[in-house]
Every structure is written in structure tokens, then in C-alpha cells.
């Protein structure tokens, strides 16, 4: 076999060697050398006992893989050659193999179609197992050795079982190398799960049906990393969708307040239709309707668009309410300074609106974030979808609970932030309150003294502050007056 292989190789290479004579010489030398090696170096006498197969049992439920570091059962088979017999077999495990409790060998022989236990004595250590047959096993028989509770090395790799045997004449012969067993190492999650599997408290925890179904420790461990990916995708949906909804919402709110009745009418239709129908329905129409029109978008992109469209209608109303809540004096003051409506809107009205709408807009963000889950219905891979498929494969509710925690991870802090912001806003808009709030804030941050702020507010109540000075200097429009009033101001406090 080896020879014919080499010859074939040579023939192939000769084609190239015509081009490169040097290579030809080199290849010839290699060929000769390998022939010499083949014949001169003694080969193991494989004819006495031929290794047929080596397998290991998948040792993780629901998986076809063999995990290193945890016990598995290894099956090793070999056939005794014609007119040969085997007295003793020693199998050597790969380096790093460990034995679990109750490691044992079962040795059987297949004779025809019957499997027989073979009387033997064996010793087993983590490096090797030694099997001594009571009577030599005769020719043509298939010996099967099953070794249970053998933990292959933890590192990922291909492992083989080597060894020796003693034939009928008492000669110690090296075994053929067995076929390799592929071993993969445990992920951290699997390690933790495996550890949990062995804990008595986990067992008693899971003996309570409720805890087992809703708060299964092993599934919590596997849900957290898996759902994290879904969490990122859901966040992505809302983080792309919401910022997109802001300019659309703002534009629609402007149209809602437009001069022309027709424009207002269409803007109102947009807002009322979107707000008046369920988002779920809108998703269905977009995902199942658009393909009919030949519009094919990535489902994730389409998801973002539908969310943005939906949210823009709500934001439009939030913005409109915000803009209309600005006192008309602000518009008048801006107009009296010669600012045009555009300048007024962007420099005066919107900056004030932003503060006022932040709490409601954040609530809208929270709503939209939660609504990303609806996209699971049309197969967008987001958190809900990840949770659903985990639940489907495990038959356990725990992934849903973990999913709930992921949603709360975003919504709870945001709710808290809104509350804080609203408090601050209320303080900033009412004059009386602003002082107390500023006072607290300042103290909290160790900033400037609260007294100063308080005095700032009642500065004029001393009635004299700049009054007297300006009367005294009333004819002067220049700085003379102001320099006079400056120090006086300071003196008063």
C-alpha cells in the first residue's frame, strides 16, 4: 500500500520534474529514502491483533460531542488474527486522562453473533488498563473492551489509544494506533452547568417544580450568555429606530402646526392612523405586505423602520405638546428681537422643548424598547426570539425569566432617570423651588455656597442696589455709571 502510494506520487511529481530537474533529483532521493525506511525499520506486527474501532460515548445531554474532562465510556474493539491468540492486552490512555469513580472495564468477545463475557482480570489506572485473559482469546474473535468513567483530557483535540499485547508465544507486541476520538473542551458555561449538576442544593432546588420550571439554575447559567446576544440585538433595534424616529416625529409635529390646513390634515392622518392601530398589525403589514410589492429588505432593517415609523407618530404628539407648552411670550420676545420663525424655533423654542419632552420621550423610548419583542412574531432575531427558541429546546420557562431581567436591566434605570429629571425640571421651572433644589444640589456637589444663590434671588429686595447709582449717574450712558454701581453691589453683600 505504502509503496504503490509513493509510486503514484512519484508519477505525478514527474510531470513537474521535467520542468525542474533539480526537483526531480530531490524527489528521487526522497523516494529512495522512504523505501529504505519502509523496509529496514521494523514494523509492528499488526497481524496478531488488529484494532477495529475506538469510540467514546457523547457525554453531554442533547449533544453529539465528547467533552473533555468529564467521564465518558470508551469502546475499543480489535480482531485477533488468524492462527493467533492473545493472552494479555494493555491499553494506554492519552496523557491527561482521568478516571471517575467506579471506572471499570467490561470485556466481551463476539463469537458468531453471540457476545460473551470473557473471564479475565484487569487493573485500571488513569494512565492505562491491563487485561489478562484467563484463557488466551483465539483466532478470528472480536474483542470489545468497554471502559466506563474515563474522562479524556480537557483540552480540545484528537486523542488515540495506544498499547501493547502479548500473543500466544508470549511476545510483547505494540498495538496499532487506534482511530482518533475527537474531544472538545467545555465552555465556561458548560463547566458551571456541570458543576451545578453535581451540587446537592441544586438537586433539591430543582425538586420544587416551580423553581425547576421558572428558575432552573443550570438554564439560568446557559440563558444569560445566549440571551445577551438577543439583548444586544433588541437594544440595536431601538437604538437605531428611536433616533430615526426623532427627526421624523419633529417634522410631523411641525406639519401638525403648519399654516396650511391641508398639510395639517395629512399630518393628523399619519399620527392618528399609526397611533390608532396596533404596532403588531403594522409589523405584519410591513413584513408580509412589502414583499408583494417587490420590496425586499433585510428583516432587521425593516424592523428598525417599522419601529421608527410607529414611534415617530407618538413623538410627533409629544413634541407638539412640548412646543405648544412654551409660553407665547417666548415667541413674542424672539419676534421683537427681529428673529425669524426658523431662528426662533431652533434657538429659543426647541432648546426649551427638549428639556420638557425628555421625560415623556424617554418613556416612549422604554415603550419602544419593550415593543421590539413584537418583532419576534415575524422572525426578527431579537431577545424574545432567542428566549423563545431556548424555551422550545429545553421545555423550561427559565429563559423567559432571564429575558425579563434583561428588559428590566434597561427599563428600570431609565425609569429612575426620568423620575430624577422630572424632579429637576419641576425645580428649574418654579422660582421658589429652584432655590431649595439648587441649594441641595450645590451642597451635594460641594460646589459654590447655597447662600450666594439665595442672595442672588433676593438681590434686588435691598431696593437700593443699582437704583441710587443710576440716578446719580443718570445722564451718563457710558461705563461711568456702571463702574459706580458695580462695587456698590458687592458692598451690599
Amino acid at each position: 500500500m505504502l509503496l504503490t502510494g509513493l509510486k503514484l506520487l512519484l508519477q505525478r511529481l514527474k510531470k513537474y520534474s521535467t520542468v525542474l530537474p533539480a526537483l526531480r533529483t530531490f524527489l528521487a532521493m526522497v523516494a529512495v529514502l522512504s523505501l529504505v525506511v519502509t523496509f529496514v525499520v521494523p514494523q509492528p506486527q499488526a497481524q496478531g491483533l488488529t484494532v477495529e474501532k475506538t469510540t467514546a460515548k457523547p457525554n453531554q445531554s442533547g449533544s453529539s460531542q465528547i467533552i473533555g474532562g468529564i467521564p465518558t465510556r470508551i469502546t475499543w474493539e480489535a480482531t485477533v488474527g488468524n492462527d493467533e491468540e492473545v493472552k494479555e492486552i494493555t491499553l494506554v490512555f492519552p496523557e491527561g486522562t482521568a478516571l471517575g469513580e467506579g471506572a471499570a472495564n467490561r470485556v466481551t468477545v463476539l463469537e458468531g453473533s453471540t457476545r460473551l463475557e470473557v473471564p479475565q482480570t484487569n487493573t485500571i489506572t488513569s494512565e492505562q488498563t491491563n487485561i489478562v485473559f484467563d484463557n488466551p482469546v483465539g483466532s478470528g474473535l472480536l474483542i470489545r473492551v468497554e471502559m466506563s468513567y474515563v474522562a479524556l483530557p480537557e483540552e480540545t483535540g484528537e486523542y488515540t489509544i495506544t498499547g501493547t499485547y502479548i500473543d500466544g508465544t508470549g511476545t510483547d507486541i505494540t498495538l496499532d494506533e487506534s482511530p482518533a476520538i475527537s474531544v472538545i473542551s467545555f465552555t465556561t458555561v458548560q463547566k458551571i452547568q456541570h458543576w451545578l449538576d453535581q451540587q446537592p442544593w441544586v438537586e433539591s432546588w430543582n425538586s420544587v417544580l416551580f423553581l425547576k420550571i421558572f428558575l432552573n439554575p443550570q438554564l439560568i447559567v446557559s440563558s444569560v450568555p445566549t440571551l445577551f446576544k438577543g439583548w444586544l440585538r433588541s437594544l440595536g433595534l431601538v437604538l437605531f429606530g428611536f433616533p430615526l424616529a426623532i427627526p421624523i416625529g419633529l417634522a410631523v409635529s411641525f406639519l401638525r402646526m403648519a399654516k396650511f390646513r391641508v398639510v395639517r390634515f395629512f399630518a393628523a392622518i399619519y399620527v392618528n392612523v399609526i397611533r390608532g392601530t396596533p404596532l403588531f398589525l403594522q409589523i405584519y403589514i410591513a413584513f408580509f405586505g412589502l414583499p408583494f410589492l417587490g420590496v425586499k429588505l433585510d428583516s432587521y432593517v425593516l424592523g428598525v423602520l417599522v419601529l421608527a415609523m410607529n414611534s415617530s407618530a407618538y413623538l410627533a404628539e409629544i413634541f407638539r405638546a412640548g412646543i405648544q407648552s412654551i409660553h407665547k411670550g417666548q415667541f413674542e420676545a424672539s419676534a421683537s428681537l427681529g428673529m425669524n420663525p426658523m431662528q426662533t424655533m431652533f434657538s429659543v423654542i426647541l432648546p426649551q422643548t427638549v428639556r420638557r419632552v425628555i421625560p415623556t420621550a424617554t418613556s416612549e423610548f422604554i415603550l419602544l424598547y419593550k415593543d421590539t419583542s413584537l418583532l419576534a412574531a415575524v422572525g426578527v432575531m431579537e431577545q424574545m426570539m432567542f428566549a423563545k427558541s431556548m424555551v422550545a429546546s429545553t421545555g423550561n420557562m427559565t429563559p423567559y425569566i432571564v429575558s425579563a431581567c434583561y428588559y428590566l436591566l434597561v427599563t428600570l434605570p431609565l425609569t429612575k432617570i426620568i423620575a430624577e429629571f422630572e424632579k429637576k425640571l419641576a425645580a428649574a421651572e418654579g422660582h421658589g423651588e429652584v432655590l431649595t433644589s439648587k441649594k441641595k444640589k450645590r451642597r451635594f456637589f460641594g460646589d459654590m455656597g447655597a447662600r450666594e444663590t439665595l442672595e442672588a434671588a433676593i438681590g434686588d429686595s435691598g431696593s437700593l442696589v443699582p437704583g441710587e447709582n443710576s440716578t446719580a449717574n443718570s445722564t451718563a450712558r457710558g461705563p461711568a455709571n456702571s463702574t459706580a454701581s458695580g462695587p456698590k453691589n458687592k458692598d451690599l453683600r
Partner: protein, 251 residues
């Protein structure tokens, strides 16, 4: 100022047969008024007499229903008039201050300078600081409106209007929303402005101020000017019964 001065010079503001109605309610029923450069005119009258509406018509915050308004050489009630351009030169101070609450005192004064007059940031800031000094608030430049008292806010509002280099200043009951002890600071700033030669139209209930500072007092009732003249003439020797009645109530 002498009477001849008014006749020769071009009026800064000129109202001709001004009418204004809100729905069926006629608030101004034909008002004629000329205000000349450097003149301080106070408009007095009972509430509902149309004083504020008259003032708000001058910079077109209210659109007149009839008549003409001239600002210097421009008829601002005509369709060709650029309203924003006209307003640049007409400063207005409101009863409710109307400072921009999201901007500091300094920034309040800078905003329109930058947006409308296209002044550089540095120039606008310099003007703002000078004006704050002039109204006695140089140490409040970086305060937010909510951190200022009403009187301080109104002084910032005056500075904000002055920053646009107005040709006329309109005061719409500038001190009416203030606590009595805060009124004086604002009035002093106004007095100083008047004495500095600013053309002003002042709607006020401060009779003392009207008497001391104004060149001319105008008494309005039910949408028309009932009586006008020097403060002494109107306050001390009112000719019209309604004026007498009104002043009788006040004094």
C-alpha cells in the same frame, strides 16, 4: 425739546388712524400718534383702554385691522415691509420679562445679536457685558434667569433689547409684574435711558415716572386718545372728564 423740533424732524413712529379688532371687539378705534426722535411718550389709561394693544401694534406683534404704521421712512403695515427687519430696530420690554430660560443672562443678550445682526461671538459678548454693566448686573452675567429676581430679569430684558441698537424702545408695563421693592431698579434704568436720549414709548401705571421722565403724556380710553400734552398739563390740568376721573382714582 421744543414743539418746532417735532415738526421739522421725521417722526420715528407714526400711527395714522390705527384700528384693531379682536373678532367683534374693537380695541383701537382710530389712533393717530407721532413719536419723534429722543422723545419719551407715556401712554396712560384704564385697563382695557387699548394701551398695550397700541404698543404691540407698533412692532406688529398685533396686526392692525386698519390704518397705517410708519417706522422712520417705511410704512410697515404695507405688504412689502420686511417685518423682521423692522423689528430689529424696535426694542420691546414685556411685562412678563420673557427672558429665554435656557440661556444665561449674558447669552440672552447675545442670541439675537448673533442670529439677527450676525455679530461675532466675541463682539456680541462684549456688547452683552457692557450692557449688563449698564443695568447694574455685571456680576450676574452667567446666572440663569430662574436664579435672578424679577427686577434683575427685567433689567436683563432691557439690556437684551438695547443690544440690538434700537431706534425706539417700547415698554409694555415693564414694572407691573414686579414686587414694589424691585420696581425702582428697573425704573432707574429706564430713567437713565430716557435721559440718554432714547426714543421711548412707555405704557405704565407708574405715575411718578410718567410725570418725571416723560416729554409727553398720552391718555387713552376706550380705544382712542382722549387727551395728550406735557405731563404737567395732563396730570395737573386735565381737560377731559375721563382723564380727570382716571387721575382722581389713581391719586
Amino acid at each position: 425739546m421744543t414743539a418746532s423740533h417735532y415738526i421739522t424732524a421725521q417722526p420715528v413712529v407714526r400711527l395714522i388712524n390705527l384700528h384693531k379688532s379682536f373678532g367683534s371687539l374693537e380695541v383701537l378705534k382710530g389712533v393717530d400718534l407721532e413719536v419723534h426722535k429722543g422723545e419719551v411718550v407715556t401712554i396712560l389709561g384704564p385697563s382695557g383702554s387699548g394701551k398695550s394693544t397700541l404698543l404691540r401694534c407698533v412692532n406688529l406683534l398685533e396686526k392692525p385691522s386698519g390704518g397705517e404704521i410708519w417706522f422712520e421712512e417705511t410704512c410697515i403695515t404695507s405688504h412689502q415691509a420686511n417685518v423682521n427687519k423692522v423689528r430689529e430696530h424696535i426694542g420691546m420690554v414685556f411685562q412678563s420679562f420673557n427672558l429665554f430660560p435656557h440661556l444665561s443672562a449674558k447669552r440672552n443678550i447675545m442670541l439675537a445679536q448673533r442670529k439677527v445682526l450676525k455679530r461675532s461671538n466675541d463682539e456680541a459678548e462684549q456688547v452683552a457685558l457692557e450692557l449688563l454693566e449698564r443695568v447694574g448686573l455685571s456680576d450676574r452675567a452667567d446666572y440663569m434667569p430662574a436664579q435672578l429676581s424679577g427686577g434683575q430679569q427685567q433689567r436683563v430684558a432691557i439690556a437684551r433689547a438695547l443690544a440690538m441698537d434700537p431706534h425706539v424702545m417700547l415698554f409694555d408695563e415693564a414694572t407691573s409684574a414686579l414686587d414694589p421693592e424691585l420696581v425702582r431698579g428697573v425704573l432707574d434704568v429706564m430713567r437713565e435711558l430716557a435721559q440718554g436720549g432714547m426714543t421711548m414709548i412707555v405704557v405704565t401705571h407708574e405715575m411718578g415716572f410718567a410725570r418725571d421722565v416723560a416729554d409727553r403724556a398720552v391718555f387713552m380710553d376706550e380705544g382712542v386718545i382722549v387727551e395728550q400734552g406735557t405731563p404737567e398739563a395732563v396730570f395737573d390740568h386735565p381737560q377731559n372728564n375721563r382723564t380727570k376721573d382716571f387721575l382722581g382714582h389713581i391719586v
